[in-house]
């Protein structure tokens, strides 16, 4: 268990280094005066007076060798000293605080919704393999998996917001704005988790320990409750670890396409606008959300499966 947490901590560090390095390089290769840009990123647009830039150049040690500058850059990153947006001038950390809430709501709602949809369909499919429910579930899963999330989001928007007029097409505030983006992500996640659940149930039903539980004389309800559920849940939960990738990527895409004001939306905007401090801040936040979700899945897996607790 401790080993998992340590691995995730290392992963968080790698995320910071990768994001920080790319942004450091980015800051210096973009055409134009790096000192001006960095000065603005550090102290806000108030420092954007030509004379001040020269002062900043010395103060920041831009004349120093780049490894020194790089280490300093990373040190600031690790201290969450993320600087100011080049576009709005506001401190990046303040903008992130607002967006983080929106994105976390979205991710949590999507995950919860997918856990309500996916395993339910999987159980219905798995109880009668090759029955009509199973075939329908498979067809739905294959179809959904071939739809990129941005298309799925647009389709849902057309159907629920424009044709039916039930939900607002974009924005943030109440559950009504949350519904479309979270449903988009949840359907994509459920497309896979329903099949994983189905396979898990089929595997458990064929497992020798499941047969033995019956042969012991246990009533069917006790067999399923005591020996079926936990064992079937193990692969479903551990698969969530892989799905965390889909979730984080999906948050970026769906927020952008449905104009949901979260971190993913901000990241894409920052890239288009070359707002490097914002790119760095948002990418770091998304990366850390990814690490946190994976760590949560690790913990849940270890709680379910004693074999993983060995270490």
């Amino acid at each position: 268990m401790r080993r998992f947490l340590l691995a995730r901590l290392v992963q968080a560090g790698v995320v910071a280094v990768v994001v920080g390095t790319l942004c450091f390089v980015l800051m210096r290769v973009l055409p134009g005066d790096a000192a001006m840009r960095i000065a603005a990123g550090r102290y806000g647009p108030d420092a954007m007076i030509a004379g001040a830039a020269e002062k900043v150049r010395q103060e920041l040690g831009l004349d120093q060798p780049w490894p020194v500058q790089f280490l300093e850059w990373l040190a600031n990153l690790v201290r969450f000293d993320l600087g100011h947006s080049l576009v709005t001038g506001a401190p990046v950390i303040e903008e992130l605080k607002v967006q983080l809430g929106a994105s976390l709501w979205l991710a949590a709602a999507a995950l919860l919704l997918s856990l309500l949809i996916g395993p339910a369909i999987g159980i219905v499919s798995g109880l009668r393999p090759n029955g009509w429910a199973d075939r329908l579930g498979l067809a739905g899963s294959v179809t959904l998996r071939a739809l990129p999330p941005f298309m799925l989001g647009l389709i849902l928007m057309l159907v629920f917001a424009i044709w039916l007029g039930w939900l607002p097409p974009a924005g943030f505030g109440s559950w009504r704005e949350l519904a479309l983006p979270s449903l988009t992500l949840a359907l994509g996640l459920a497309a896979v988790s329903s099949r994983v659940t189905r396979e898990a149930i089929a595997t458990v039903a064929k497992a020798p320990y499941f047969a033995f539980a019956r042969h012991k004389g246990l009533p069917e309800a006790a067999v399923v409750r005591r020996h079926g559920l936990r064992n079937a849940a193990i692969p479903v939960v551990s698969y969530l670890g892989l799905q965390a990738i889909y979730l984080v990527e999906g948050v970026v895409v769906v927020e952008s396409i449905l104009a949901y004001p979260g971190i993913g939306h901000a990241l894409v905007h920052a890239i288009v606008e070359r707002d490097i401090p914002m790119v760095q801040g948002t990418a770091l936040a998304m990366g850390l959300i990814f690490v946190a979700v994976t760590a949560g899945v690790d913990a849940a897996s270890a709680w379910l499966d004693p074999r993983l607790r060995r270490a």
Binding site: L22, N130, R145, A146, L154
Partner: protein, 273 residues
């Protein structure tokens, strides 16, 4: 339901037929992507504002978009772009991935640890994030998109090749082959390749599907390829405001993406146990 007959489930002969359907679909789409731009003489960039949103079946076989550009030509060029780029990315990811995997499994030691570290660094972030960060260098350009995708996709080829090869190399028949005097080349050709080849084929199809999804998605959120490039994802977004007047026009590029990804995923399907 027609879908139900098209994608039936688990039992063997039917799953094979789902694969066959996928292969046939893929072949048809590949033909459209390769031959289409060559056979269709219309220029995908030529505007004819008089023919804005021309209906299907008129002067333009599949209609024209809001600038009056031939949709058929744009779809064919879009398919070629998606397909070609996905193929190129897949190859760029697969060749080093497989090679590194074989080397790591065969040699072990510090070489393997180095590749593992590299793979773990790439995997620390979701692939799309890495592509986005690289795109920040030159939004709307082909280079960083291609590089970013290849950089994230090689890992899967590497990991599967390494793990499978390592398992094979531990088996007694490898030791037996060495004792019988067979060299590494023979063992690679006759003992390793037959086992990993089908896995690699599956991965290749999945990698292409991933690349196609990523390219269209990034273009749709306007950080990938930019208009007027006939890219399927950005075509959808460009045409979306006109969906009330010309709903099928919006649908066409979307269906093309869907079919491309579907075909690749059906081809990638393998009999599970």
């Amino acid at each position: 339901m027609s879908i139900e007959t098209a994608f039936p489930s688990a039992d063997r002969p039917r799953r094979l037929s789902a694969r066959t359907i996928g292969a046939a679909l893929l072949l048809a789409l590949a033909a459209f992507a390769i031959l289409g731009p060559w056979l269709i003489e219309a220029d995908p960039a030529r505007q004819d504002l008089g023919a804005s949103l021309a209906p299907i079946g008129g002067a333009y076989l599949l209609g024209a978009d809001h600038y009056g550009r031939s949709l058929l030509a744009r779809l064919a060029h879009g398919a070629r772009l998606s397909f070609g780029m996905a193929f190129l990315t897949m190859m760029t990811a697969a060749l080093p991935g497989i090679f590194f995997g074989l080397v790591a499994a065969w040699r072990g030691g510090w070489i393997e640890r180095m590749f593992e570290l590299l793979a773990n660094i790439v995997l620390a972030l979701p692939g799309l994030m890495l592509v986005l960060l690289l795109l920040a260098f030159a939004p709307g350009n082909f280079g960083p998109l291609y590089l970013g995708l290849a950089l994230t996709l090689w890992v899967e080829f590497y990991r599967v090749t390494r793990a499978t090869t390592a398992t094979i190399l531990k088996q007694p028949h490898i030791e037996a082959a060495k004792l019988l005097g067979f060299g590494p080349g023979y063992i690679l050709r006759n003992h390793v390749v037959p086992v990993i080849a089908p896995l690699i084929a599956t991965l290749a199809a999945f990698a292409m599907a991933t690349a196609i999804i990523a390219i269209s998605t990034l273009s749709a959120i306007s950080v990938g390829l930019q208009p007027p490039t006939p890219e399927l994802g950005s075509m959808i977004v460009e045409l979306l405001p006109y969906y009330a007047e010309a709903p099928v026009h919006v649908l066409l590029p979307a269906v093309l993406i869907f079919l491309l990804v579907l075909a690749l995923q059906l081809v990638a399907q393998r009999e599970t146990r």
